[in-house]
């Protein structure tokens, strides 16, 4: 089954590209998740760790690829290939953590923050004149979902009495079910669930995220934050539209009883393409541009203690649900916020419900 190979190698390539590019597109004052003063951004330790990190990531990529090839040639089971993607993620985190550890040690040993004025900057207009949510970008997802339902309702009488609800190797159906609203519209339910989930996340970016404004250049930083928020929401809404397109395509195959070897690609290709576009758009705008704003003399406060393992933000005092990621694209959850636990429980429940609806019948 070539689809698992396409997906695994596509994902691995994307991960590898992100891993290699991240040090250049994250804020120069947070190399590898360590907050440092701007004047230390070109410190020899930071430059050396960036170089070493890139070599390690490249080696990890090769290791993961070899593991993938070995798994496939030994077991012949392409479905195990996503394992190599997980291996790559694990190795990548290791590379990140080693660099994070070294820079943290150098920062502590060199007393990089001694005698500096740490500050916090806030853009009050974000609250008194909040940016508008890009509702128009929700239209494609809604149109595709409604179209799926309408086409389904119209063609319901002419659908085969037995529908294929799951496909095995080479696109041959391995689970069949009698035609009913639950089976015929199962993917429409997925569309509705996924659309609601991603719209919820996009709305949370607007309503419950805390900007991280650089006190040294607050005006440019605040402006960038507004643009990035809007871009993040649009990227998510674009992605969900493409997921819905994949579900529509798959539903059409199911309703017409079409059996082809490329059936899984109908779902995979639109989603993979949308993920790549979203990642590229966010990556290109991931840091504030230097617009020659005068330095205020303040530097961002050292908040490393809230970032466990350099990646996970845990701050009980912080009421924000989402904060900008330090190493990576977009936002991350504040795991110290009780609402995060409730949210995660909700998402798990939703996924469980979808699986039940999809496979329970």
């Amino acid at each position: 089954m070539p689809v698992a190979i396409v997906v695994s190698s596509g994902l691995s390539a994307l991960l590898l590209a992100i891993a290699l590019v991240l040090p250049s597109i994250n804020s120069p004052t947070v190399p590898f998740g360590v907050r440092i003063p701007a004047q230390r951004a070109d410190d020899p330790t930071v430059l050396r760790q960036t170089r070493i990190y890139r070599w390690r990531v490249l080696v990890s990529g090769i290791v993961a690829a070899v593991i993938g090839v070995v798994i496939y040639s030994v077991t012949g089971e392409a479905l195990l290939l996503p394992l190599s993607v997980l291996v790559l993620v694990g190795l990548w985190y290791g590379c990140f953590f080693l660099a994070n550890h070294e820079i943290r040690a150098a920062k502590a040993a060199g007393g990089w923050y001694e005698g500096l004025h740490q500050g916090i900057a806030v853009d009050t207009e974000l609250r008194t004149d909040p940016p508008r949510f890009p509702w128009l970008w929700l239209a494609p997802a809604l149109i595709v979902t409604v179209a799926t339902v309408v086409i389904g309702v119209i063609s319901y009488p002419s659908m085969p009495e037995i529908l294929a609800v799951h496909y095995g190797a080479k696109g041959v159906p391995n689970r069949l079910a009698a035609k009913s609203v639950g089976t015929a519209f199962s993917l429409a339910f997925v569309q509705i669930g996924v659309t609601a989930l991603l719209v919820g996340i996009a709305a949370a970016i607007f309503r419950s995220s805390r900007p991280d404004i650089d006190p040294a250049r607050p005006v440019g930083s605040a402006r960038w934050h507004r643009q990035y928020m809007s871009l993040g929401a649009k990227a998510l809404l674009g992605l969900v539209a493409m997921i819905d397109v994949g579900m529509l395509g798959s539903s059409l195959l199911m309703w017409t009883g079409t059996v082809t070897s490329w059936a899984p690609l109908v779902v995979v290709l639109p989603i993979l393409a949308a993920v790549v576009v979203a990642v590229v758009v966010l990556a290109r705008n991931n840091r504030a541009r230097d617009e020659g704003e005068e330095d205020t003399g303040l530097i961002h406060r050292d908040d490393d203690k809230y970032w466990r393992g350099g990646l996970f933000y845990i701050n009980r005092e912080d009421r924000a649900l989402l904060v900008p990621r330090r190493f990576g694209l977009g936002w991350t959850l504040n795991f110290g916020n009780p609402r995060t636990a409730m949210l995660l429980a909700g998402v798990v429940a939703l996924i469980g419900l979808l699986i039940t609806v999809r496979f329970g019948g």
């Binding site: 500050g119 009050t124 008194t128 912080d318 009421r319």
Partner: protein, 136 residues
């Protein structure tokens, strides 16, 4: 409006907040009717206790610069300088100017600084520039 606070400063945070808001009013960034964020929202954005923001807002209210309302939140109000304010302000200006003189800054430079600061405030009208300097 950007509010910057300096965590290393000896000036308490509520005082810094109050000072930045007063400066924003003088600069014309905040005008009559401009609203300020809710106490809790501003505290959350700063990552500070909301009592600190409350204290800053309360100071501004006492000085008649903002109006606090349960429905509309904190809103900048128009205000007139009464005579107790003039006396109090003159006393504080006297201390600040005395620091300059004690440090040996020439009077010309002090006046020039005073004028350029006033000029940087967009709302200042030419006829009401009361830079009450002791003639020296």
């Amino acid at each position: 409006m950007i509010l910057n606070i300096d965590l290393a400063s000896e000036v308490p945070i509520y005082q810094q907040l109050r000072d930045r808001i007063v400066e924003a009013i003088a600069e014309g960034v905040l005008t009559e009717g401009s609203s300020l964020p809710a106490t809790r929202a501003l505290a959350a954005d700063f990552g500070i206790n909301f009592h600190t923001v409350n204290k800053a807002y309360d100071l501004l209210r006492q000085q008649g610069l903002i109006r606090l309302n349960r429905k509309t939140g904190a809103v900048v109000t128009a205000t007139v300088a009464d005579s107790p304010f003039r006396a109090d302000w003159t006393a504080r200006a006297r201390t600040v100017l005395a620091e300059a003189v004690a440090k040996g800054l020439p009077a010309g430079e002090v006046l020039k600084t005073c004028q350029s600061v006033l000029d940087s405030f967009a709302t200042t009208q030419p006829e009401d520039t009361p830079c009450l300097l002791p003639s020296s």
